[in-house]
Point group: C2
Chain length 493, copies 2
């Protein structure tokens, strides 16, 4: 049983099969009866809840409030912003009727043809249009600004090729939508939220990210500027993990949202939007996990420490339980998520394999000899190492260890990224290096044409124009034309 | 401005207009561009978040975990449970297409007729069907049971007559769906969750509720037994505020979910489901609020204490700010949600009116004379009384006061309900008393026919067969036939 449970396709055989196996076997998510829609299982959802809690705290600390806007968008709304319609009014779920009726032949229910909507409704693929239609009524004067709203919601994009967490027809996300009196303030907000996402990715998910600006081709439909955080997965492919958009006055103009300025004039409102989704689950899984299963950073792990007793008979179990009880109390008081697994229908070996698969950061095993020696066996999930540790001050030891594991997981991912980020000079070199995977820093002439050509020939895209790092100008590796700075290329999910 | 903002239609003039005014003017919610779908505004959403947090904690303390299931349900699923289809497969949003395309005439987007779904998808009105179709794969043996899942989600029921929070086409809710090995365990679970809802209503919302069983007519479509909590609004109408269903083996049979029993046999799985929704916001508002605005129980108020400085000039403001600063720190450390409103573009009178409208439980006003006397003016929202209180140990005073307000709001609602719950003997008496509003306890012969007759003639429905209270048998007020116990009647939302 233990063996069968643990069996994942090794990453070296098939990275994508390994990912699929892991998501299923670690009970994170599964496909549902509805094409492209997933079921997020309790263990996967518990990780998502931890992500939500931290992000929500960060949003509120930066002055945002939550609200809720309708699931449905009138079809005509999608046409109001010219670029937006191109990007979003395509593959989406369309509600055309509002009633079913019993099939006269008794075979079940059929759509009632008389209950046809006058205007079709679209299940939101993103909410700029319905929200800006609402903001129109909220904003009269500069005194009504800024509006700093976020919503936690489900959205639907009718993707043809789906993968659990990475690309699903329905997914969960948050979308921030802010309204400002000045261009500067809106731009500042968009950048501020990019940094919130970057902090969250690095300090909670332990995923190092590059922050930068998208090229025009890769920009959000309707945005003036799209900021992005880009992470590197273990197979050398990039994953866009969060975006923040400076929308200019595009949506205010589309929905005629004007305000009385402080100076007594009238102007259109400036906007941003920003979002991260359950795609972050994919980033988390693919950044750290190994052929034995999940590796979770302690800050997001639903269970941080598990204690497995090794015993024969009720008496030994009771002795071990009595011994660890005060430890558990101390850990809980310190906010550590800890569990004593005294279930008697599974062997310790099975439990070890299960918790390894589930990525629990620290596993303690305690048997008779440990009791006699006042020690415990501490196993780290990140390094797969074991150590015998004294029971004295074990709570402090474990709290420090969780910190150390969080750091170590980040450092490992950071080192991997460093080793897989290369600077290239020529297009030939670019093509050779690209086959090794990872990020490539190269000069580009800034034109969509060159970007397209590179994409067509190599499948590499510009992940971002980095905000930080080397800003030296140069010459485009393809055309030789001037380049303002190196940009970050990769093949991406 | 202050006057205009505060102006609500008095309850005595029109209770329903008062409710509508209050929801809009207190910034709780508003209608959206999509028929029947509301926008929950930040202040309303903050109350809902407080409800969610407490309920979620209570669910987890009783052993439940969260998960997420698809928004869409294949049309055929709704037909699988015979009663369920009657109740839910009627007024619902039907997705028939998955793509839009540009209108050749350039006027916008149209539904692509080629992108028609083979089977239509229904936006979930409730999730029993999709969840039991999923559970089929999760359950093989008694060792896989119980499953105790909850989900926080949006659902859609195409209501024709909608009212903010009380009845909307889309609403937010939680739905628990549990699977058990025995009938007894499932029944116990359904009753346990009824009590969780009752505790939440009484101890957090300060809304007294009757707990009971629904008559067959009022039962959830597909349930064997529906338990309910019923509250009384200030206009004398009842509001069903939460339900918990014992589903028997109905859904397990519909989706063929069998398991290997401990005894070596096979059986269908036993089920419950239970839910509360944003309708609770309506219950909260209508239970306590008055003609001046919202009255919020402190445990759910987004802001519990607001401090308004009365000053002239920066210097006075600074002196007041310095004085209240340590108080604010102490209150925050004690978990009190407190705000110092030093905004200089609004007069104190305007602020007073605004916080009254928004139902902030305690308002402190501090001016120069208070500074000199080391006192502060404390205004209670629930009683609309003011008192001058010493600044010494003010934090303790306020923490106790918040408790007292919570109790007082509950007691007031409880006394109102007691005064408006009457025992009647004859059907004539029933009709007379019903016009006064409130709950009526009367004998009923237990038949759907008599229940229907009463409903047709008086618009009163059986809210529940109470679990607690007088169980003396008697004779039906309409037919004279035997009645097992008095049941609770009312006109209801």
């Amino acid at each position: 049983m233990a063996k069968e449970l643990k069996e994942l396709t090794p990453r070296s055989v098939s990275y994508s099969q390994w990912y699929q196996d892991l998501v299923i076997k670690a009970d994170l998510a599964e496909n549902s009866a509805v094409r492209g829609c997933m079921v997020i299982k309790p263990y996967g959802y518990a990780i998502w809840e931890n992500m939500q809690r931290e992000l929500d705290r960060m949003f509120k600390e930066t002055g945002h409030v939550n609200a809720y806007f309708p699931l449905f968008i009138p079809k005509s709304f999608l046409s109001k912003e010219a670029d937006h319609v191109e990007g979003f009014a395509k593959e989406c779920a369309v509600v055309t009727h509002y009633r079913l009726k019993n099939n006269p032949d008794g075979s079940g229910v059929v759509v009632d043809p008389e209950a046809k909507l006058e205007e079709e409704l679209i299940v939101r693929p993103t909410s700029e249009t319905i929200i800006w239609n609402t903001y129109k009524n909220w904003i009269q004067s500069y005194r009504d600004l800024p509006i700093l709203c976020n919503q936690w919601a489900n959205v639907v994009r009718w993707e043809m090729r789906t993968r659990l967490f990475l690309r699903t027809a329905e997914f969960l996300w948050q979308e921030g939508h802010t309204a400002h009196a000045t261009r500067e303030e809106a731009e500042e907000e968009a950048v501020k939220m990019l940094h919130v996402y970057g902090d969250f990715a690095e300090n909670f998910m332990a995923v190092p990210v590059h922050k930068g600006v998208k090229s025009a081709n890769e920009r959000f439909a309707g945005a003036v500027e799209t900021y992005t955080i880009e992470a590197l997965m273990q197979d050398g492919k990039a994953l866009q993990s969060g975006t923040s958009h400076f929308l200019g006055q595009n949506f205010a103009k589309a929905f005629d949202v004007q305000f009385a300025t402080k100076e007594g004039g009238r102007d259109y409102v400036w906007a941003t939007s920003w979002g991260v989704s359950t795609r972050l689950m994919g980033a988390l899984i693919m950044s750290h996990s190994d052929d034995n299963g999940l590796v979770l950073p302690p800050k997001l792990a639903p269970l941080q420490v598990v204690i497995v007793p090794i015993y024969k008979g009720e008496e030994q179990l009771k002795a071990i339980a009595d011994k660890v009880d005060p430890l558990i109390s101390k850990l809980k008081a310190a906010g550590v998520r800890v569990k004593f697994d005294d279930s008697d229908n599974k062997k310790p070996g099975w439990k070890f394999a299960e918790y390894e698969l589930k990525g629990v950061p620290v596993r303690l095993a305690m048997g008779l000899r440990d009791m006699e020696n006042n020690t415990v066996e501490v196993a780290r999930r990140d390094t797969l190492t074991k150590q015998t540790v004294s029971f004295e001050n074990l709570d402090t030891y474990l709290i420090n260890l969780l910190d150390e594991i969080q750091q170590n997981i980040f450092q490992k991912a950071f080192d991997y990224r460093t080793a897989n980020t290369r600077t290239v000079e020529t297009y030939e070199e670019f093509k050779v290096e690209l086959e090794k995977g990872g990020f490539l820093l190269a000069h580009w002439d800034g034109t969509p044409e060159t970007e397209e050509l590179i994409k067509d020939e190599t499948k590499a895209t510009i992940r971002c124009i980095p905000l930080e790092g080397d800003k030296t100008p140069g010459k485009c590796m393809v055309t030789g034309k001037p380049s303002a700075q190196r940009v970050l290329f990769a093949r991406a999910y």
